[in-house]
């Protein structure tokens, strides 16, 4: 065991490479096979001041498939996966709770209600993500206002309980709406089980600003997550205001989660399992967990999307089903081995 928890180059390189490999596979696979090496050469050839003069360049049709369909989907998957895993790590650190995930404070329930409201009101499908985003932020805000008390003996527990209460309440409203609009059940379910369906790059550009803000705050605050791990009282005597730290980190993680949920629906287990996987291999410091969870989350979701597309091709399985189907047994195995 090293004396210091440092982000070492090898794990970063391994995780970054896994993202690139997964992305290439994701871009290659589909009804039309495009060899990953041809994609890579073509992409590098597009860079300024690079002229590889490929012997087997992509055809015009392949370029359209790549640029308009597969790459936006792969990039969206990578960004959503990175956000869910990074935010999951942040929530686990802020709440000192290994079972925390990005949906802990009601983000999923809020997004679900927002989406169901938009669908049952018959609004344009472009408004569903907007409603999901607003619902997600609103739910976490309400949970925070209920559960956050300045001198609470156990502030993190209060917040988690408030999150449970808010999620239950919003879930009840959502069920009522679904019962009243049973004809739209399938549309709602399709959204709730998660999907990466893109129409060009617009969804990617929409989510990118949130992803940047969230990533910068979480990477910058990863040392703070290590301080929070000693509990509020000790953190305070070490010179950290735990309440302020929680506000900043939860705000950033909530923005990221809301953006991810609005873009891809409810995708479970990535935010829970990926940080644990990093912790299992490289120790408990958030200086290491947060950046590597971001990278590994991207890989996992891109791979999950490949499986979602290919297992029952030409039909697609919801990506949330794939992540839960693979993530749940994996997590159970970690628990059984007592390594979490």
């Amino acid at each position: 065991m090293s004396t210091r928890a440092r982000l070492r180059p090898t794990p970063v390189l391994v995780c970054a490479t896994s993202v690139v490999v997964a992305a290439l596979i994701g871009a290659a696979l589909g009804p039309v096979w495009i060899a990953p090496d041809r994609i890579l050469v073509w992409l590098v050839d597009q860079l300024p001041w690079v002229d590889l003069n490929p012997t087997d360049p992509l055809t015009a049709v392949e370029q359209v498939i790549l640029l308009k369909v597969r790459l936006p989907r792969v990039v969206l998957g990578a960004v959503v996966g990175a956000l869910l895993a990074g935010c999951g790590a942040a929530f686990q650190g802020v709440f000192r709770n290994p079972l925390a995930d990005p949906y802990l404070l009601g983000a999923a329930a809020g997004a679900g209600l927002g989406a169901v409201t938009a669908i049952t009101l018959g609004l344009a499908s472009a408004l569903v993500p907007v409603f999901a985003f607003v619902g997600s932020i609103a739910a976490v805000t309400v949970a925070w206002l209920i559960g956050s008390r300045r001198h609470s003996a156990n502030p993190t527990t209060s917040l988690v309980l408030a999150g449970v209460a808010v999620a239950a309440f919003l879930g009840a409203i959502q069920s009522f709406l679904l019962q009243q609009h049973a004809d739209q059940l399938q549309q709602v379910w399709a959204w709730m089980m998660g999907r990466l369906v893109v129409a060009g790059w617009s969804q990617v550009w929409t989510i990118i600003p949130y992803a940047i803000v969230t990533t910068v705050v979480l990477i910058g605050g990863r040392r703070i997550l290590d301080v929070l791990a000693v509990g509020d009282d000790e953190a305070r005597t070490l010179g950290l205001d735990p309440r302020k730290a929680r506000i900043v980190l939860v705000l950033a993680a909530t923005l990221g989660t809301a953006a991810a949920v609005s873009a891809a629906g409810l995708i479970g287990f990535v935010g829970l399992v990926v940080p644990h996987l990093v912790r299992l291999v490289l120790g408990g410091s958030y200086r290491v967990i947060v950046p590597l969870a971001l990278l590994l989350g991207a890989t996992v979701l891109v791979v999950a999307d490949v499986l979602a597309r290919m297992v029952m091709a030409p039909a697609e399985i919801p990506i949330g089903v794939v992540t839960a189907f693979l993530g749940a047994p994996f997590f159970a195995m970690l628990l059984a081995r007592g390594r979490t």
């Binding site: 928890a5 301080v227 305070r236 005597t237 205001d241």
Partner: protein, 274 residues
């Protein structure tokens, strides 16, 4: 008359939890460089007092450390002045000794800042001073009670505080380690010019190491002063509700403070003994 340089002054300090007053009307001053030990039976309010002085527990009245009102100070400003070693620390999972000590530099770093060369140098120096170098890479969860106490002391000292608050620093330690840790604190306060306020259960050890004792009884100061004035048999018997014998300091035997020995209470004879 020139007032001594008080590093800590508490005036009319009180702590309430709901309708219950845990401590009240405490007036306490601690001079820079002093070691003051707070003693008293279970429930007297020792830990509550220490936590109020550290700014963790809300209080009424006034507590000033190095001229700063504790309740109004930011955690960062306060951590530059005082460090607290708690009785039951929360140890994060899978953290090395060095990383736990490094957390002591938190108050000296901005949000987006990482530890620099000076921070690492300070940590290395403190690990060496407290003979923790061989343990630097160890998982904190694998340490013994005495080793953990030394690690927490190292973390508190790399904060570079003027005031060190120690909550029962010897409670989890055997006899040998109790003396080792307290000797170490004594040496460190002389080397670093740190002022120490500790809570202690062992009256003899408190009297041996502290310059002054503060005896608490049900949240109020029953007496404060040099160990020989506080550790009087009558007073100790009354507050601890048990008979004691107090032996005077005997520097020839290496005892600089009074020794308090508990006696078996005299019970009425049993009928068959008559």
């Amino acid at each position: 008359m020139i007032e001594p340089d008080n590093l800590l002054s508490a005036n009319d300090l009180g702590v309430w939890v709901g309708p219950t007053q845990l401590i009240g009307a405490i007036d306490l001053t601690v001079v820079a460089g002093e070691w003051v030990s707070v003693i008293g039976p279970n429930g007297a309010g020792k830990t509550t007092l220490l936590r109020a002085l550290a700014g963790i527990t809300p209080y009424f009245g006034s507590v000033r450390v190095a001229g700063l009102e504790v309740s109004a100070a930011s955690p960062r400003a306060l951590a530059h002045r005082l460090a607290l070693v708690v009785q039951s620390p929360i140890v994060p999972e899978r953290i090395t000794v060095r990383d736990l000590v490094l957390l002591g530099r938190t108050a000296h770093l901005g949000w987006l800042q990482s530890e620099g060369r000076h921070d690492h140098w300070l940590v290395d120096r403190m690990l060496a001073r407290l003979a923790l170098e061989p343990l630097a890479a160890r998982d904190v969860a694998t340490l013994s009670g005495g080793e953990l106490q030394r690690v927490l002391l190292a973390r508190a000292l790399v904060q570079e505080p003027q005031l060190l608050l120690l909550d029962e620093p010897t409670s989890a330690l055997d006899l040998g380690h109790q003396m080792e840790v307290l000797d170490l604190v004594d040496q460190l306060r002389r080397e670093h010019g740190v002022t120490v306020v500790s809570t202690m259960h062992d009256l003899s050890l408190a009297g041996e190491f502290a310059d002054r004792l503060v005896l608490l009884d049900r949240g109020r100061i029953a007496r404060q002063g040099p160990p020989t004035e506080v550790l009087e048999a009558d007073l100790v018997e009354r507050i601890y509700r048990t008979p004691v014998t107090v032996l005077p300091p005997d520097p020839a035997q290496g005892r600089h403070g009074p020794v308090v020995l508990q006696r078996r209470p005299v019970r009425p004879s049993r009928p068959q003994d008559r």
